[in-house]
């Protein structure tokens, strides 16, 4: 009897866990949809910016004025850099944080061997906990970026990074986050956001922007735009705007990927719980049956002894 009861207890426990993981899965799915909507709505801005950049650089080529912006310039020597690590505030999302942190560590090791001072900034409690455990000092940490990062929040960070970079306090900004590629694939990556490198092609012809998107305007016949003010001045403004949009996109991507990772993790946890429930129930049935059999044989044995 005792064994069957123990199995029942286990069954109940697994069932409870399953309930929790199943709920978390549903919550993550709902959150993912919201985050996805936000990300796809934000994509319009990035797309438009790269379109304008392509138009601008097309007309710039005619004037043959080479364009320079402090944010675009590659520095010869790296004296100091910043690494921003975007992790989640909550756990139970599979390998999501692990992947990002592994990449971050590679970068940290690399700068250490190159002897470049590196400031680490972390967003998300998971990352903060990790660096504390590893006894790696962090320069700043943020926990307010949840699954709905707003542009205003990111703008504050972006402005600070631009300031630091232009004044020469940092020579490079890397960001470790999970890039959203498709529904089925998200990849932890490290990207260099500053210097931006090439915003527009320096040689004529190709019209790919640094954002990676092929500007749609390039395919269209060339349009003679009125520029107010000159293309150069507009570009000067658009470079920081494009950086901000990029940084914002990183946060959005990370938010979407986190929800997907959690969804997947919770889905497999639920499936696993289902399987466990099935095997425990089979075990219980067998235990119950053998108990009944033994009780029966005891009764029969007792009756036989009385005769």
């Amino acid at each position: 009897m005792a064994k069957a009861r123990a199995i029942i207890k286990r069954l109940k426990a697994v069932r409870n866990v399953r309930k929790i993981t199943r709920t978390m899965e549903l919550v993550a799915t709902a959150r993912f949809k919201k985050a996805m909507d936000r990300a796809s709505q934000a994509a319009a801005y990035t797309r438009k910016i790269s379109e304008i950049v392509a138009d601008l650089s097309n007309s710039m080529q005619e004037g043959s004025t080479s364009f320079q912006h402090p944010l675009l310039q590659q520095r010869d020597t790296e004296k100091k850099s910043i690494l921003l690590v975007i992790t989640s505030n909550r756990g139970l999302c599979g390998g999501y944080n692990g992947g990002v942190l592994r990449h971050a560590q590679t970068r940290i090791r690399q700068t250490r061997s190159d002897n470049i001072p590196l400031d680490i900034e972390v967003s998300g409690k998971r990352g903060i906990g990790f660096f504390k455990f590893q006894k790696i000092a962090t320069a700043a940490s943020y926990t307010h970026f949840e699954d709905k990062p707003t542009f205003d929040e990111v703008d504050v960070l972006a402005k600070r990074f631009i300031d630091l970079f232009i004044h020469g306090h940092i020579d490079r900004l890397d960001i470790a986050y999970t890039r959203f590629e498709t529904m089925a694939r998200q990849k932890a990556v490290i990207e260099t956001l500053l210097p931006i490198g090439k915003l527009q092609p320096t040689d004529a012809g190709a019209a790919k922007t640094a954002t990676g998107a092929v500007a749609t305007a390039a395919a269209k016949p060339k349009v003679d735009y009125d520029f107010l003010p000159s293309p150069k001045e507009i570009l000067e403004e658009i470079v920081p705007a494009s950086f901000k949009a990029k940084l914002f996109k990183c946060f959005l991507d990370a938010a979407v990927s986190e929800q997907i990772a959690r969804m997947v993790a919770m889905k497999s946890a639920t499936d696993n719980a289902d399987e466990m429930i099935r095997s425990i129930r089979a075990q219980y049935n067998r235990a119950r049956q053998s108990q009944i059999t033994s009780e029966l044989s005891e009764i029969i044995g007792g009756a036989a002894a009385l005769e």
């Binding site: 709505q41 934000a42 003010p229």
Partner: protein, 135 residues
């Protein structure tokens, strides 16, 4: 120019596409002053200033407060890229006034800081003016 809504206005902020609708004409601030757009405008790319985006459509007139950015006019499509666009009726004069006093009280030593402070003051003034107008 009452031949219906011939322009298509798209207002995009980094977070979402705020507006995508047909309009008859519009007026918004460029870096050096307001510009009006009517159907048939030649292609244009410009830098936005801070101030009121005034939309005239068949449905009526609406105003938004836009805070810098870029504009692209191509054919009938007018795209505004801006960091922030708020309905004028949702602006609060008190809030704008607070921002103005904060901007006025701010200390500035270097040239950059002085320019930044001036820009902030202008921004607050424009916001205040628009908020008061729409009240």
């Amino acid at each position: 120019m009452s031949g219906g809504d011939k322009l298509r206005l798209i207002v995009v902020t980094p977070e979402r596409t705020l507006l995508d609708e047909p309009v008859a004409s519009l007026r918004f601030p460029l870096y050096d002053g307001d510009i009006g757009i009517l159907p048939g405008r030649l292609p244009l790319i410009g830098r936005l200033g801070v101030g009121e985006l005034h939309i005239t459509a068949a449905a009526g007139e609406t105003s938004y407060f836009v805070d810098g950015g870029f504009v692209q006019v191509i054919g009938p499509n007018v795209t505004l890229l801006t960091n922030r666009a708020v309905l004028a009726s949702e602006l609060s004069a008190d809030e704008a006034e607070k921002q103005l006093t904060a901007a006025l009280a701010k200390g500035a030593i270097t040239d950059e800081e002085v320019t930044a402070r001036f820009a902030e003051q202008q921004r607050a003034r424009k916001m205040l003016a628009l908020a008061e107008k729409s009240e």
